[in-house]
Each structure stands twice: as structure tokens, then as C-alpha cells.
């Protein structure tokens, strides 16, 4: 669970007829805690289709009114950046300190700036 799009999701063993759930895809579950907040990843589950994933997600992750809305996304459909490339991938933003308001020198006695 929890932010862990896994290596297993995609490479799960092939379906075998006596255990169909082996072939059930992995779904990542996102819950909106209350109106006005974003959906946040809460975990994952196996389900045969999106409808069942939603229902299982409700039973598994919102038994105590933790949410007002749920998204389920097939783990296979998520493209994630790689931790190895983290540095080079996010590098371009590192030297652009002028994107932050604190970069600018302005007189201290100007209001609302």
C-alpha cells in the first residue's frame, strides 16, 4: 500500500484457471478526505474491474468516513519517474530561484507586496 506502485503489479504471474484472482490487476486507490481537498493516494488492492475496485476501495479504505470521493487507477497505467534519475530529472528547477517571491529585493515599507 501507500505510494508503492510496485514491481509486482505489472509482472504478476500469468493467470491460472483455478485461481483467477492471480490475474486480477492491481489498482491504486486515491481518496478525497473532504470537499475542497485533493485526492490522496491511500493504498492499493486487487480487483477484476474498476467497478469492483471502487467498491472494495470503499470497504477497505473508508470504513470510518475517511472520504467523500474515491478514484481507482490501474497500477499498470501509472507512469512513474525513476528514483535513479531523480537528480537530473528535477535539476532544471534547482537554479531558478527567481521563481520564488523571496528572490526579490523590495523596500521593507511597501505594503501588500
Amino acid at each position: 500500500m501507500s505510494g508503492d506502485t510496485t514491481t509486482t503489479g505489472a509482472g504478476a504471474p500469468a493467470a491460472s484457471p483455478d485461481t483467477p484472482e492471480r490475474s486480477w490487476p492491481l489498482w491504486e486507490v486515491f481518496v478525497r478526505g473532504k470537499r475542497g481537498l485533493s485526492h490522496v493516494h491511500v493504498g492499493s488492492l486487487h480487483a477484476p474491474d474498476a467497478e469492483m475496485a471502487l467498491r472494495n476501495g470503499r470497504d477497505l479504505y473508508t470504513r470510518r468516513q475517511e472520504g467523500v470521493s474515491i478514484w481507482v487507477v490501474r497500477a499498470d497505467d501509472i507512469t512513474a519517474s525513476s528514483p535513479d534519475e531523480k537528480d537530473s530529472f528535477f535539476d532544471p528547477a534547482a537554479d531558478k530561484i527567481y521563481r520564488h517571491p523571496t528572490f526579490y529585493d523590495v523596500p521593507e515599507d511597501v505594503e501588500y507586496l
Binding site: D4, T7, T8, S44, D49, M52, P83
Partner: protein, 355 residues
């Protein structure tokens, strides 16, 4: 076994009667929530991450033995959660009131959820849930031996919530700081949900102890039968002489385990004795007495022969638990097949209408 692992040696003994009954609401839990992510500085080397008390995440490189240890521990923990549904599930139809029935259903359902969080966490290590269930059903993997004891009376549901969930929380709170991220996060969720489990058990016993003579006797009988198995839940001794040859040391070095079995057991006894006094129950241990020097309760020796016997299959309910679990799985096969067939049908319909 049930997430074996607890204690800050510097922490005061929790014999203070003002300590919350709810063992899940402790400082240790808050610390875990406030985990400080320093990955930026530490980098991605396994040993460096462990040394800096950082979380290992699924896509990080890790030693095979670390991975295997975690798969085994998380799987056994997950198995314990779902096998643990049975002893209390046994009383759902006979709960003494609608209120108790609703509570019991909610608790048993929570345990199912705990099992699922944990199987998910195990899957992040590259193992399939169906494979883990096979290992449970074939006896290749174990679950906590506490669930091989029967629930003979309604008071047993009280004793389980109070003692068994109490001991499980004691094990699980430090696991919220486990070095493996998905396991730690699953534990944070579990601990939050465990909060009511222990309290409802205490309340059942509290009510019985304020009832008739025979209700009090029933509560005492349940405490007599569950006390020692609950202490055994922390696992065999692993400090002093017993530290040699066990796996506690390695698990601690890896930040999977935070406290020795013996420390956790002591902490549990220190927490529980005042609660038993409050309830008016006598714990079945003639050696139980406060040790001023140590600042802890002294207690007798768990019957480790019994522990190993039950773990290896010779407990009162081992065969019944696994048989029930297998049957439930097999009886559910048609539901899983139908769901798969339905999903396939919907998908092909969708394709047709798109064509």
C-alpha cells in the same frame, strides 16, 4: 509473529494509572507519524539509509535477506490478521446484544482490512498475494499461535480485545517506525484502527465484572486462559543468553524490529497489570509482583514448550482454523470466477461498442 516487535529503555514504566487505556495512542506512534525524511541528504545506498534511520522504499536496492525477512514477517502478520477473524467471528451470531453484535462485526471486518493492507505491503516486495495464501493453506507459513486457542464463552471476546489486541498493539506501534516504508505505513493505519479493539474488549470485561457472580466468574476464567498465551505472543526470550542464535539482532540492525521480545513483554505486563486491578481480575501468575528496584512488574516464566507445540500445529484449534480458512477460500472460488467472467464480458462489450 503478530508483527513481533517495542520500548524506549529510558521511558518511565507505564504503571501510572492515568496512562491511557488505549495503548495505540502513545508517543511512539506520534514519533512514527512525524518521521523526518532526509533522503535528499542521505542518498540511496541501503546501509546509509538504514544508518540514518530512513525508510527503504519498494524500488530501492536492498539485500535479498532483508527482502526475504520482510516477506516472511509481513506475510505471517497478514495471516495472523485474517486467521484472527475466526475466534471472534465465532461469537457474532451469539453476541449478547445488537450493540455488541455491531461492534464485533466492525472489529472482525477491521481485521480483514488489516490483512489486506499487509498483503499489499508484502506484494511491494515482489511476491504475489495468491502465493502467500497458498503458503498459509499448505502450512508452509505460520500465523500467531494465539489464534489456536478456542473462544469458549462470551467473556473470551472481552479477553481477546483487551489482551490479544493489547499485545498486538504493543508489537505494532514500534513497527510504525519500521525501516520498510510500506510496512510502516500499513502499521500506522492499523494502529489507528486498533484503538477501539482493545477498548471494546476492556469494556466487555468491565461490564461482566460489574454483573452477577457467574458473569464475574466467566470474566476471570477468560483472563486465566488468555493471559499466558497473550504473553507468549511476543515470541521466545531474545535477550541475554537467549540473544544468541535468534534473528532479533539482525532484525534490529535492519530497523525492522525496534525492541526485543522481552522488552515488549515487560512493557505489556507493566501496562496491563494496573488495568487488571482496575477490572478486579486476578492474573494467573503467583510470581507477579511489583519490583521497586527495577521499576517494573516481575512475572513468571511462559510455558515455552506449550508455545512451540502450539506453533508447530498441536494446539487446541490449529486444524480447525486452517480447515475453516481453506474451506472459506474454496467456497469463494465461484465468486472470484464470476467476477472475472463479468469483468471480461464488460470489457468485450466495451470493445464492441467502441468498434
Amino acid at each position: 509473529m503478530y508483527g513481533n516487535d517495542v520500548i524506549d529503555p529510558d521511558e518511565r514504566p507505564s504503571v501510572d494509572p492515568t496512562v491511557p487505556l488505549n495503548a495505540a495512542e502513545t508517543e511512539a506512534y506520534d514519533t512514527a507519524l512525524a518521521h523526518d525524511d532526509q533522503r535528499e541528504q542521505v542518498g540511496s545506498d541501503f546501509d546509509a539509509l538504514i544508518a540514518a534511520d530512513q525508510r527503504i522504499e519498494p524500488r530501492d536496492a536492498m539485500p535479498d535477506t532483508y527482502r526475504e525477512t520482510l516477506i516472511r514477517q509481513i506475510a505471517q502478520h497478514a495471516h495472523s490478521e485474517i486467521i484472527g477473524m475466526q475466534p471472534e467471528g465465532n461469537w457474532i451470531t451469539r453476541a449478547p446484544s445488537l450493540r455488541r453484535k455491531a461492534i464485533l462485526i466492525a472489529k472482525v471486518q477491521d481485521e480483514a482490512g488489516h490483512g489486506l493492507y499487509l498483503y499489499s505491503a508484502a506484494e511491494t516486495l515482489g511476491i504475489d498475494r495468491a502465493e502467500l495464501l497458498d503458503r498459509l493453506h499448505s502450512g508452509k507459513q505460520k500465523y500467531s499461535s494465539i489464534f489456536n486457542y478456542p473462544t469458549l464463552t462470551w467473556a473470551d471476546c472481552g479477553a481477546i480485545g483487551w489482551l490479544v489486541d493489547g499485545a498486538a498493539i504493543m508489537n505494532q506501534v514500534p513497527l510504525c517506525r519500521c525501516s520498510y516504508g510500506p510496512y510502516a505505513r500499513a502499521m500506522i493505519r492499523v494502529c489507528k484502527e486498533e484503538s477501539f479493539h482493545q477498548r471494546q474488549g476492556f469494556e466487555i470485561l468491565w461490564n461482566l465484572m460489574h454483573g452477577t457472580e457467574s458473569q464475574r466468574a466467566m470474566a476471570q476464567d477468560a483472563a486465566n486462559r488468555w493471559w499466558w498465551p497473550a504473553l507468549a505472543m511476543f515470541g521466545p526470550p531474545d535477550t541475554g543468553e537467549a540473544a544468541k542464535g535468534g534473528h532479533t539482532e539482525q532484525s534490529m540492525a535492519w530497523g525492522i524490529k525496534r525492541f526485543s521480545n522481552d522488552d515488549l513483554r515487560q512493557k505489556f505486563v507493566d501496562m496491563t497489570v494496573p488495568q487488571a486491578q482496575k477490572l478486579g481480575l486476578t492474573l494467573p501468575d503467583p510470581d507477579l509482583r511489583w519490583n521497586d528496584e527495577r521499576g517494573h512488574w516481575d512475572f513468571g516464566e511462559v510455558d515455552w514448550d506449550e508455545f512451540w507445540r502450539v506453533l508447530r500445529g498441536d494446539g487446541p484449534c490449529n486444524a480447525e482454523r486452517i480447515e475453516h480458512r481453506r474451506r472459506a477460500h474454496e467456497d469463494g472460488a465461484w465468486v472470484r470466477e464470476a467476477a472475472t467472467a463479468y469483468a471480461a464480458k464488460q470489457a468485450s462489450k466495451h470493445k464492441e461498442s467502441a468498434a
